[in-house]
Amino acid sequence: MDGKKMVTVKIDGHEIQTERGTPIIKLAAKLGIYIPTLCHNDFVEPYGSCRVCSVEMRRGKRKRLVTACNYPAQDGEEIYTDTEWVRENRKLILELLLARCPEVPIIKEMAAAYGVTETRFEKLYSDCINCGLCVRICSEVVGANAIGWAGRGVNREVTTPFEIDSQACIGCGACAAVCPTGRIHIEPLWALKEGEPREFTLGPASAIYIPTYQAVPKVPVIDPTACIHFKTGGCKICEHVCEPKAIDHNQEERWEEFEVGQILLTTGYELFNPVVMKQYGYGRFDDVYTSLEMEYMFNASGPTNGRILMKNGQEPRSIGIVHCVGSRDVNYHPYCSRICCMYALKFAHLIRDRSEAKIYQFYIDMRAFGKGYEEFFTRILDEGVNVIRGRVAEVVKASPDKANDGKLLIRCEDTLVHRFREIPVDMVILCSAIEPQRDADRLQRLFSLSRSPDGFFLEKHPKLDPTATPTDGVYIAGCCQGPKDIPDTVAQASSAAARILANIARGVVEVAPILAYIDPEICAGCRLCLQLCPYGAIEYLEDKGISQVNEALCKGCGTCVSSCPSGASTQRHFRDDQIWAEIEGLLLDRR
């Protein structure tokens, strides 16, 4: 439209200059004048169906009612948004709408604002005003075109093609979000799936989220698998509403290379998925949670606002906390996960704090080894938490005819009293084991590390050098090295950081002079040494077709030297001829 010409209009006496063709409702919004409407939304093209936004337009002697949502202001026009005429017209329109939707709150409210509480016209008891916002946002913004119009006149209605479930619907919920009357609603399906990528399995997911509460930098990301824009090419509503214009849908993930001298690995752990331990019912019963899910529920900004709730929305009256799920178990992980005892006690304390529920702890040994830990345990005991020593055998649903209908039964042997016990609870918390990250082997190869039998990265020396690794310049800290709690992690990470800083402060790295050397004249490029070098110190130069030793990494172990079929690899200062000469010299003296 050739709308670059500027025009001046007056709205309720306020003069405003604008481009020709700008709808009145936008100008009014700039002036802070409210014009009621039901069918207009900034994200879709104006439609002009509800007519509630009708305002009075005067030009010279002519005056008429125009719809503010789509009437393009012309030069010299005067607009009045709240005259007697406008109010009377609006009143009649709202009376008609009230006849159509006598029970819809927003219609009742708007009508009441114009003094209409009862309608003279035949009531229809519909909850859709045919404003078409849903249809328009679905086609114009989302681009899915899943819903449309059917019928004509009074029979006109919003529906899916042929009134069957539309395959085109992507379930984005945009229609429900814009629906003014609440006719359309979305029912969230809270799925709990194995291998769920995030910890957010307890709440509805959105395509835009902050990865974790402690994310650095703390900015939201867009999940391209869930974002409407990446599905249909439409939407971009977030881009429109973001005032600093920070959203760019064209941004892509990219690989960046950094050159560094030292690396600290803190890749953490993964939580053991208790689905595999069928006897504990995780994934089968509604109210069996892992410790991390519970942690999320306890969070005041979590899905339940910090309240402890069962799936049915009620507060549990009894909770069982099961220790050593997947740890200290020959079938899964023989090692102790070290942190469970203490956080289980913390859970008990938090639950005691927030609810009246009875708490049962099922443990094998209480491992409260840290500073102040034992005292905490004693305090929990004083708070009236039941502790039962014995590994839980299984969690089952209580049989419906018994008094404990609907509850979960925890079966175990109480080894202190030598009795088999069945304890009915509403909720079960499983203290899952700490596991190495599932891609630890990939990392191991990348950094030429070793792993202990439990799968965690192996340190250079368990007592004397617990943060370094056999690869120079690569350090480890935290749970990637083995299960540990926060104080231990902090201590280890600080020590690693200190080691790194010490190297940086020194400015140079001292290397022992005993190094391997591959003679480029002789090397045939067979790359046998590459596979054998335990330190990843040999690289193959594609362009020259030979292997070369990285002297900063070489430890002078001699593996490559002894294995080199062509004799190209030699040990500096310990060349064969040198050693022969030494031997010869020694033997000469004897003679």
Partner: protein, 623 residues
Amino acid sequence: MKKLKVEDLSKIKEKRIKERQLSEAGPYRARIVVHLGTCGLSAGAQSILETFESLVAQHPEAKAYILKCGCGGFCAREPMVQIETLGLEPVIYVDLKPKDVKTIFEEHVLKGSIVEAKRLSPEESFFARQQFLVLRNRGKIDPENIEDYIAQDGYMALAKVLTSMSPEQVIAEVKASGLRGRGGGGFPTGIKWETCRHAGEERKEERFVICNADEGDPGAYMDRSIIESDPHSVIEGMIIGAYAIGSRQGYVYIRKEYPIALEKLNIALAQAREYGLLGDNILGTGFSFDIEVHRGAGAFVCGESTALMASLEGRAGIPRAKYIHTVEYGLWNKPSCLNNVETWANIPIIINKGADWFTQIGTGDVTNNPWGGSKGTKVFSLTGKVKNTGLIEVPMGITLREIIFEIGGGIPNGKKFKTVQTGGPSGGFLPETLLDLPVDFDSLTEAGSMMGSGGMIVGDEDTCMVDMAKYFINFLLEESCGKCVPCREGLRAMHSILERITKGQGKEEDIEALQDLSKVMIQSSLCALGQSAPNPVLTSIRYFREEYEAHIQKKKCPAGVCPDLYEMTIIPELCSGCMVCARYCPTKAISGEKQKPHQIDRSKCIKCNVCYSLCKFNAIKKI
């Protein structure tokens, strides 16, 4: 066929006239004009035609030929035939049955003596007051033969425009003629063309001309008849319009329910293309233009300009806000000039005879103000309770009385005139006191009705105004697109109130509620359908308020139409006891003995009105 050049047109004309001239020496001495419009065909014209055809074949000595014409206009008396023979003036025969044909052929065509029994009386006033501009070729051409049209000066206007006039001159001529849109709005055609041309030139965009043949008003069939009988006049008008506006592509949006019109139109378009009157390089003048036909799918609202264009684009026919005019941003957002069939058909004659001639017909003065008067003629379909129903063309300014009582022949069965409804569902009812109202755009609008596309429905004393209003509201309720609240919800509310009133459950405040509804619909509906929808209700309240009050207060329907508001009764003094009513009463509600007054059992009576229409003694009354 070789594409025509300008000079070929008059050659074809002369040749065709010579061919068809009646003379003793020539091939023909008699012409039988059979009217084969939809109205004629439904009255049985096809078998009349076939009978004539076999007779003509049997009697080559008669030297007669049959002209298969379009609508003859006098629908009430179809099938209708006009016979022209040498030495006799043309004679019109009406109300024909196949058995009459032989007599007429033998007597009139062979022997030259007129069959008076079937002849339309020369005194008949039906044709007397009419003036044929748009229907100028009525009874003269075969719509399937382009040469017939050319013989009647067809495409001469086009030749004149293409050879001797600039587009601006054409627009000026149309503006000077004062022609106003015949589709209902009455917008000055010349101004529309000028704006469209201007918008296109300013933005350097292509332009479209569109013919609105989506005639949907109940009781209106002017456009159908024009296309069926004289499609080339519409095509010629469109080509001239396209030249004036600077368009290369035209569309005809024709309603689905007009199969014969569509067929004739397609034949005409194919012929025009063959003769080089459509397509590239028309008449060798370098101007190119073609027309595409688009069929509607049955929605009344698609006659509204923006809905029509949406439908043409392939979208649902739903109007949009018209703050931006279609002449600037119409079809595919290009400048588009939409005119009604009748408007286009007016163009050739205006060009041929000139604006000055045209302005002599009609009312007012349009020299300075294009809205200052109504010029030319208007085609109406005269229907309802009137003797001579049919398609008529009258000069603007004729009074309603002249139309109904002179052309229409008054009300049949000795009933009294009550109302005339003009303008279709968007128009209004006019009472007897306004019978002397001149028929033009402004007088009708002032009286609360409108010219509309030309439907004219006459109601007699048996017409219930509330029921009629309800009929039109119900029609619109079904045909509203349902987009905007005032139209959709307003019509629903109106209909339920009228329904209530006709059932005898009306309330005192209902009339005020109807007026309130009308107000909001007029001032804030999105398109003209909603804005004009209350007219039938408003005019019926304005002129026949007492009937509403009778329904509401006395619970009576004075016209005896609303079944809940009257009772059948037999007046004993008038009843002769003939038993006819008793025999035909479907529910056996009437009882009585021969020669004695009968009685009606009201608990059984279903008010089917069979007895009422059968009684020869007017003994049955509705009370």
